[in-house]
Point group: C2
Chain length 204, copies 2
């Protein structure tokens, strides 16, 4: 079986982490470097990651994270931050692609216009895009974690406004999820069953 | 290099697909089966996939998809549909896990309560969750596609209301993205550069 397929088939949202095992800051950097290879709209990369890995910082997060033990027991819990999509950043985010002659300037300019058409004065779309981008980033980071022998748990149980305040998110940012990463204990649940494709797939 | 890392490093959003190559309905089923191994909040699986793969259906989608050629040139373009998070579905979605003794009934009941606390009469959170779940599903489907030798392109350039109408989405559904999957032509762009982790990562 292809290792990607094997990971997809066997991955589970880990509930119990080994609290005695940590991961290095270098490994955290690598997780985020790989996570941000994910796609984002117009390559906006409208995400940010706060790696909460000291006992003191984890404790602050757990208090506003429904007191979930995995926040403190995992080696690191990321606050995965989404940034409201801002078309004015597209030129800057595409500049390295243009300068390396990977993308013509004309395409970058066209993308800037398309981004303005989508997002300018469209707060719901700006927020939607922040969630999409941050979730693509988190998902890719989770795959990277599996490849590095680590397990993960995305979480939505937290007080969003308290997290924004406690971790000083900017006005155009909000927490899209928490994501614990670390070493799974052996006694975790297996992957929960899913509905069959026939229930959720239409072919036309 | 681990095959997952290699895929993350090399994957690109494919712009040019070989329009002469199709994929079987069985392969489309398998892509969706694997994609829906993705995590979702309380295992709600609040997603649906419309596989647009006939020339006629692709043409209808392209007209309301900014006329993007990849919609018709890829073997299949999925309308990745998000469903507003509804806590009343949690019991049903967890039942197979309870019946297989993977999860105690008490946990399933507690999750139902937590889901109600999060989503009941909270339309913004219901929508946010639809985007998160559908994006996790799309991302996992994209990894499965890579493992199967296919390439992909998520797209946000489409008229959302027209897509909902044309493909008869339910009142609690909306299109989260389009996702083309097929065989890449050799002359595609490489992956576009990303910002460095130092620009987007805080360690605390």
């Amino acid at each position: 079986m292809h290792p990607i397929i094997k990971t997809i088939e066997e991955r589970q949202t880990t509930n119990l982490f080994d609290p005695t095992r940590t991961i290095s800051d270098e490994a955290i950097h690598e997780l985020v470097r790989l996570g941000t290879k994910a796609p984002s709209s117009f390559n906006l990369q409208n995400w940010r990651f706060i790696a909460v890995r000291t006992p003191e910082a984890k404790s602050r997060l757990r208090k506003i994270g429904w007191d979930q033990p995995k926040i403190t027991e995992a080696a690191v819990t990321f606050v995965v931050v989404g940034q409201l999509a801002d078309h004015q950043l597209i030129a800057e985010r595409l500049r390295p692609a243009v300068e390396s002659e990977l993308m013509p300037q004309s395409v970058a300019t066209a993308w800037e216009g398309a981004g303005k058409a989508l997002y300018f004065e469209q707060p719901q779309r700006q927020r939607d895009e922040a969630i999409r981008s941050a979730t693509f980033g988190a998902s890719t980071l989770m795959f990277a974690a599996e490849a590095m022998g680590l397990s993960s748990a995305p979480m939505i149980g937290f007080e969003a406004e308290a997290v924004s305040e406690e971790f000083e998110l900017a006005a155009d940012e909000f927490p899209v999820m928490l994501l614990s990463v670390g070493f799974a204990k052996p006694e975790n649940w297996r992957q929960k069953p899913r509905r069959e494709p026939a229930q959720i797939l239409d072919l036309i």
